[in-house]
Amino acid sequence: MVTVTGKAVIGGTTYTKTADVTVTTPAGYPDATTTGTLVGTARTAYTGPTNITAANTTILNKNITSALTFGAAAHNGIIQNCLIKASAFYLILNDAGATNLQIINCELDGLNNGSGDCAVGGSNFTLSKVNIHGTVDGVKAGWDVIIKDSYIHDLTVTGTSHNDAIQSLGTNNLQILRNNLVVNAGANSSITLSTGSATDGMKNVLIDGNLVGGGGYSVYAGYQAGADILSRVSNIKVTNNKWSTSIYPNGGNYGPMTSADPPVILSNNTWYNGPKAGQPIW
């Protein structure tokens, strides 16, 4: 339940009222039918700027053929019901400081550009019901990132790629919720928290309710005792996720998850299918 507060000033007197909205989430794991652009809602060619500098920019119902970058002042951007098909290093980049970018019901197709980097990179953004494919990595998540109800798949694997559906090289506040992140053979992981690269820390991470699979290990959970710096890590939770055996019998090629030593908190992580369906992965 989300409570919405409305406020009006009438003749110098302030009136405040509230209304409640119930936000539902789709049943099952996301796929191409529950993510991406909206069936039946027409889109037109995007003719606006590719370097977004204005705050409160809304890009709605568009077909976009180039990458979009958001400048420092481009707060509160919205990209909704858009198809971005582009061969670029990033398809959407928000790393200059703009806050509260929302990417909703979009399909991001990197056109199998093996020299690109990822579909979405930077900080301060939310992905909801996004279908990502054809890029090397799916999302490179910095600070204040939410990725939910999305489908990241069919990454572009090359001889030198190191594909992750979601990768973080350091964060404070990352939520990965209810996504389908099963990556194709040859990819590195569904989720990698690379604390070794996280000089600013790997903190306040919640990985909950996802379907993962594939990779060397499907999940690199952020802390390996004896290898990672303990002070960089706090409040990492991996909970209620399921591992698919559709790519490898053990989830990943070497196993379901690694770098998950305490203080990483693990709870209710189980097999999605295979002979151990429903049982804990460890």
């Binding site: 406020k7 009006a8 009438i10 003749g11 209304a19 936000v23």
Partner: protein
């Protein structure tokens, strides 16, 4: 009449990624209409020839001036997980559910 504000959001159930509409409505902000002021009443009488007449009168003074409706300013709704943008109607806002 007292001024009152209502605020509604529709639909009340929405899927993640959907759009909702927030609408303000104001009642009672009609301004003050012109109303009659005091009324003078009296009786006049007189004789016309052999006839005596009595007449009652009522004179209403001019009304007080009307007061315009109060100025209304509507703010963007606030909520967690919904981003609101204005529309051409200041009472109507569109919200995108993350």
């Amino acid at each position: 009449m007292a001024v009152a504000l209502t605020f509604t959001v529709t639909p009340t159930t929405v899927a993640s990624g959907g759009i909702v509409t927030g609408t303000y409505a104001v009642s009672g902000n009609t301004g003050t209409p012109a109303v009659p002021d005091s009324t003078l009443t009296g009786t006049a009488s007189g004789d016309v020839g052999a006839e005596h007449f009595t007449a009652n009168f009522a004179i209403t003074k001019s009304g007080v001036p009307a007061v315009a409706p109060l100025t209304e300013v509507f703010s963007a709704p606030t909520s967690t997980g919904i981003t609101w943008v204005s529309t051409a109607d200041p009472k109507v806002w569109k919200g995108t559910v993350a």
